[in-house]
Symmetry: C2
Subunit: 217 residues, 2 copies
Amino acid sequence: MALSRNEDQRVSLHTVERLSVYRRKLEELSHEGVEFVHSHQLATMVGVTPAQLRRDLASFGSYGNIARGYEVAKMITTISRILGTDKLQNVGLVGVGDLGRALLSYRGFEERGFHIAAAFDIDPAKVGRLFAGRRCYHLDELEPVIAQSNLRIMVLASRPEGLQDIIDRAAAAGVRAFLNFVPRTTVTPPGCFIERIDISAKLEKLSFLVKQQEQCT
Amino acid sequence: MALSRNEDQRVSLHTVERLSVYRRKLEELSHEGVEFVHSHQLATMVGVTPAQLRRDLASFGSYGNIARGYEVAKMITTISRILGTDKLQNVGLVGVGDLGRALLSYRGFEERGFHIAAAFDIDPAKVGRLFAGRRCYHLDELEPVIAQSNLRIMVLASRPEGLQDIIDRAAAAGVRAFLNFVPRTTVTPPGCFIERIDISAKLEKLSFLVKQQEQCT
DNA sequence: CGCCTCCTGTGATTGACTTCACAGTGAAAT
DNA sequence: ATTTCACTGTGAAGTCAATCACAGGAGGCG
């Protein structure tokens, strides 16, 4: 089999985002005992065209059996290896507010290969306490804890003030990627990645769509 | 002025998403007392190219002063009108778990024109109680409360089980748009919009990027 | 008053992603 | 063994968004 080396060399980011969706549905199918699935079946289940699904899978050299379709179990492990979630990864969390605590108690992360190993805050009422079994450190301890727990990914759910400084310090300490829930524009340190989740912006987009639809009536 | 009628007739969704970002930065500038801003200034602040910013603004007929740039206050009101957030909108919330409660206490929504008017759950320990000042209704009361509060947008933060049924019922009762945090594939009712926020998928994307970068070393 | 500078709005171009459409193929049926 | 069938992988075409580049114009300055 020729897909062992560099199987993920040129996968577009759009494809990567869809791989997460495919994998989740494939795991559902696997639990139901399904062993093989055709492109048009999986495609309609997740809401993409069969051609796009085939191209996504072909982009990393997944060769499906022509008569039976794609092997579910094998595709799950392949996608997991591409996404880097085949081993449990430690991630950090900055900001133990309402959102931070919700993320700490979210069970879905562990299932997908992510473990929030450490939380950080500056509130004396929170520092030192346990939240959902995880210790909350003071932000001053950011660098040593990053090194100790080998954190490569950090979730940002703090107040907007001082966010850039936290990002820069974390990047200098070895963090390579940030998932940012904080609605403030940031500068991405060289060699790093920042992925934003802007809940208000999503609501505004929906508001626009609803308004546009009503006007077209 | 020729921009009064149909000012938002053909705005691409990519542009709409960026409008949210522009508006946030413009409000910051407004608080700082800035009255006019040039495209290259605002563009570098939010991380897009000046050409793209100009095209985004031109797509709904915003004519900036050539010498002074764009009028900050006027652009804020124009963008708000396009997004439909110039008036406060009621939205509903399904699922008062950790994430739901975090959303209920998030202050950013009101600032952006959204008010969570009602929450729904099926847990007897939660139904009837107040969360951050909002009453939690039983899911059985979905339809009458939607009608009473005139809910057009609903945030989904419940368990995956029965999600599609909730969507279908809400759509039948008049809800037109959903912001879905639940990691399950859904079928969009006709005439409705569903916007997904998949936190695990974002983490997986970051994991992929970090892994890819490490391999290219 | 006229020149000069810099910025906006936009036609044209480039680039990327999606979709179409079909050749090739493996398994099942006869 | 051979035929048939349906599916995969992929070249080609199509579509859409981002970028380039420049014409036109408003204000400042001599």
